[in-house]
Subunit: 333 residues, 2 copies
């Protein structure tokens, strides 16, 4: 299945994107609009969560933006009605913030998700839902690449709550027949990600720093392995999943084309930006206990189910990302 | 390690039992008082949750009962101070209720547990905590007996939240050094369990029904396997765990001496009561999707760690249980 095949599935369809002013949500919303979907974006613009009005720049009159909070049951009840698809991306994503304030993380990543599913059960039981979960549910990998049978052992509050919410989605499928799928994402990067700090991803911060001429700080020995998905590949995975009946009630990993150490990633960024510097520094004490070590996702189950695979190399994706932020720094800095 | 060895660990120690008017909590509190501990019981007596003042009959002047709710952060902050041990048993335990009202289950089994751990972190970081988790975290077993490496895949809201809370306890150990252990219990039965309905365990309801001369209803073909722990054995496991440094930060299964089908269990109850009847009936539609099939717990990891094993046979435990309820039916019916 490739891009042209998706258009008939989404053209004129009503689609809700929660967290649609955020990084992945806005990229997805724009793509949906381009395919002719009737898109509603729900976003609370919670400070530090990644929502940014500029992410939908040029699309404001082509979709409906509801500035509402998933924590408000009445808002949720209203927006789920009549949708054919819900891409459920709203969430608190910072691991550190979840440790500093576990209760807010619980409200957003558990209670609000239950609210959304209960609202769907009641007002829109036929809707197709794709939930954005995270590799964080696996905790520290026992071996790479991590497939869906890897033990679940989250090591921070955010990972625990995201796992619970992924299970809600599977449970509401199994018990109530809701057509939901959970995608466990690895590091996603690209245009429209948060670059102010490392809340969404440290790579965002590095992008800003390398453009600003600031030194990139690499924690520890920099030998931690990671894989990355360019945001367009993640959007494609979500769109393909939502039109695949076979994936309903399941959870799948995404994963990158390449695995790279953080030190090599810093070097690559400096190389691609043609200037810059990096330095190894000790792990900050608050980060070390919730660091997962190495990670790479095995996405073969999803590949088999829907034919998805990542297509954008890290080098190519970083070039596009750097280019985007050089042009739009005033909207993100 | 056996009973006499435990006394020096608990004599004159301050011990908090959350849910201490409930089934396991009250048996534990009584045992602790008998060993000379200075026991505080926290219980909200939430209707249908299993709390019963009669459970501490004869002990009211030997311990302190705080009728307070774990959902009230100020109550929690207050009761955790100065305790040497916390046995954390307060919870919503009904699988069906968790599906009917997932939000209350979330409040009690997730938010309140976070509150308790945050309070310990702040006001009593040296306290030893044992958390009562459940076999429900494993969902439908792939093979029996289930050990701790079995995949975690809860199939109801209660299982999801109990798993999250178990992880909180491990996480607060790993990140903040709290000395907590999670015990995943199988079916527990014995004096002081709830027998009004099957919210706590269907076996409670059966005990009442067989004594009342009512017909026991066995769902499906009655071939579902289960294991059972007599409550004294569970109390012993908790007491031994709390004085074992090696178990800190870990999660362990309990498990029964025997595995029995539900049909054979019904027959055994009728035999032991010397009169009664049972009948196979189809699964109620609301129960079937959250039924776990067969279950038996492998407790060898805990046995290796602390020397615990169950000692009360099902036959002997049921005789004691029937005897208790024949004598005290007016307090439980």
């Amino acid at each position: 299945m490739n891009v042209p095949d998706l258009i008939p599935h989404y053209r004129n369809q009503r689609v809700l994107v929660t967290g649609g002013l955020g990084f992945i949500g806005s990229n997805l919303a724009r793509r949906l609009v381009d395919m002719g979907a009737r898109v509603t974006v729900l976003d609370a613009l919670v400070p530090n969560f990644g929502g940014n009005q500029f992410n939908l720049d040029g699309y404001a009159d082509k979709l409906c933006v509801v500035l509402g909070d998933l924590r408000e049951p009445r808002v949720v009840d209203e927006v789920v009605r009549g949708q054919s698809f819900i891409f459920n991306l709203a969430g608190q994503v910072s691991h550190l913030d979840s440790m500093r304030d576990p209760f807010t993380d619980l409200e957003i990543n558990c209670r609000s998700q239950l609210d959304l599913l209960e609202a769907c059960r009641q007002y829109n039981p036929g809707v197709r839902i794709v939930y954005a979960s995270t590799r964080q549910v696996y905790g520290r990998p026992r071996e790479l690449p991590v497939d869906e049978d890897h033990p679940l052992a989250p090591i921070d509050i955010n990972g625990i709550h995201k796992l619970a919410a992924g299970w809600y989605h599977v449970l509401y499928h199994d018990v109530y027949g809701l057509r939901s799928t959970s995608l466990r994402m690895t590091n996603t990067y690209g245009p429209r990600m948060r670059v102010v700090d490392s809340r969404q991803t440290f790579l965002g911060l590095w992008i800003r720093q390398v453009i600003d001429g600031a030194e990139l700080l690499v924690f520890g020995d920099g030998q931690q392995k990671r894989d990355f998905n360019y945001v367009d590949d993640v959007v494609q995975a979500m769109l393909l999943t939502a039109v695949s009946a076979a994936t309903e009630g399941q959870a799948y990993n995404l994963g990158g084309l390449e695995v790279i150490t953080l030190l090599d990633l810093a070097k690559l960024l400096v190389e691609l930006h043609r200037t810059g510097s990096y330095r190894l520094v000790p792990f900050p004490p608050e980060r070390k206990p919730i660091d997962i070590g190495d990670y790479a996702g095995n996405y073969s189950r999803l590949q088999k189910a829907i034919g998805w695979e990542p297509s954008v190399t890290l080098r190519s994706g970083l070039v596009r990302t750097l280019d985007y932020y050089r042009r739009h720094r005033k909207s993100y800095w």
